[in-house]
């Protein structure tokens, strides 16, 4: 019986015959193959494909050549944009001569994570420490986020934030499995801790 993943060679495909091809074995013992040539379908064989060849001519492809100047399709301004006023701390890559004229100003660095980010920005992007410190700062920032929520009198509903309602609706079996596995892990951890206490 044919399955969808049976091998379909180029010729099989375009003849519309989806029988397994001649090369579907795993071994090559005792088999000398002749010249290998790609087989191409004819235009007639492709006419049923919606829109086939509309951009066959590279002139129709807007990204060919990749670089093109002057730029098309935009209202190109005469010069660099005027510098944006800076009201918050913005970290700047050491691989730049200075701040860019435009920048994002949201979530400026703060707290311990901010200090880690500042130290990350002492290293260039070429230095892996830059990125690893940023990842560390991200994890610290998650804890800070929970602290911030609590300081605002808000207990974060972590399960709701993780979309448990949709898991319950669309994957109840998966949710049950996670609950069982999670319960087993927590139960085992509690048991081991209790046992360790008993032997002290």
């Amino acid at each position: 019986m044919e399955t969808r993943n049976d091998i379909v060679t180029a010729n099989d495909q375009h003849d519309g015959q989806h029988a397994p091809g001649e090369h579907d074995g795993d071994g090559h013992v005792g088999h000398v193959h002749g010249a290998i040539m790609p087989r191409r379908p004819t235009r007639d064989q492709l006419q049923h494909i919606q829109g086939w060849g509309a951009d066959l001519d590279r002139k129709n492809r807007p990204g060919v050549p990749m670089e093109r100047t002057p730029p098309r399709f935009i209202n190109a301004p005469a010069g660099d944009p005027a510098p944006q006023a800076q009201d918050v701390e913005v970290l700047v890559s050491t691989e730049r001569p200075g701040r860019t004229p435009l920048f994002g100003s949201v979530q400026p660095p703060s707290g311990l994570s901010g200090a880690i980010r500042r130290s990350a920005f002492k290293h260039s992007e070429n230095d892996v420490r830059h990125w690893l410190l940023l990842l560390l700062a991200d994890r610290v920032n998650v804890v800070e986020g929970i602290g911030h929520d609590l300081s605002q009198g808000k207990v974060p509903n972590v399960l709701a934030e993780m979309g448990i309602k949709s898991e319950f609706m669309h994957n109840p079996a998966g949710l049950a499995k996670k609950v069982v596995i999670g319960g087993a892990v927590i139960g085992a951890a509690c048991y081991l801790m209790k046992r360790r206490d008993r032997y002290r």
Partner: protein, 394 residues
Amino acid sequence: MLAMNYRGPYRVRADHKPDPVIEHPGDAIVRVTRACICGSDLHLYHGLVPDTRVGHTFGHEFIGVVEEVGSGVQTLKVGDRVLVPFNIFCGSCFFCQHELYGNCHNTNAQATAVGAIYGYSHTAGGYDGGQAEYVRVPMADVGPMVIPEDIHDDDAVLLTDALPTGYQAAEMGDIAEGDTVVVFGAGPVGIFAAKSAWLMGAGRVIVVDEVEYRLEFVKRYAQCEVVNFKEVKDMALHIKKMTDWMGADVCIDAVGCEAAGNTMQTITGVYTMMQAGAATVLHWCINSVRKGGNVSIVGVYGPTFNAVPIGNALNKGLTLRMNQASVRRHLPRLIEHIREGRIDPKAIITHRVPLEEVSDAYHIFSSKLDNCIKTILIPPRANEVRAVKASATQ
């Protein structure tokens, strides 16, 4: 305003935040009417992108209505219905002058390795994104495009990233007539890459994924062949067999750093982050393409490093091309394709979710529940007609 709020890996919620304000004379404030969740948002959601700060609002695929413009904005007007390309770009730097709008050098202070992107961490500039009621749009005369009357909102929102990225993936493959094109990944970008490969004259298009319902969809939507890699022992060998032992002419990576299919890659790339994501698909591309073939990469990877068989790429004489899509330059041609009925972007939308339910929307998309392919978030004020604010500031 209501906005998506990142709280940590796998944790997001809808929260109230201050409305964005004009910070530069070239800015506009756009009231969002539709925002998508992109596959690359999942890398942020899973905590894989460095400098993703708690409180950040994601969303780089959105359309809306201009609510307010800065004093320097000359062409965009309050009330204009606009689609906003995911790239934030100035239009004047060296790279923009060469139409590399995704590589602008004037909008991201925090990294030179990537241009600025809405709602895509501080590594991509630290701008809040469009999964919110309002969003700050810098360089409003340069980036956004007024949506033509005859283009549906659902098509327009897919023109901000998914469709141009898929199209550019095929374009970077430099497809010649009759070429065999293998697209890894049957997410929205992979689906559009497959569709675009036919536009460029491919002779055969094969899409590879592990998610059955997506493979069924793309087979129908893009009239292509499909392979479920879970049912294949060796991906490169399978492609060789499918192509008379030649290998594909073009391979496209439309998956990126969270690829399944290789346990070791998943452990080192995703779980332990010893490399910048699982390089499974990069391996498959390099090893499945024919000698002298082209590999096109639009899947997103982290900024550190990946273990890839670069020696094979050298010895096979491959051309490797990759970039963030330069959305703006693709729009006119893609709009023609939509008008001519060659491509129907909105057909991939499977879920419309109120912004208030963003936690569930992310989980559904991330876990591929309920046959989800593309999710659109609808902010509560999407359909509101508001009194026009006066042009403001600076």
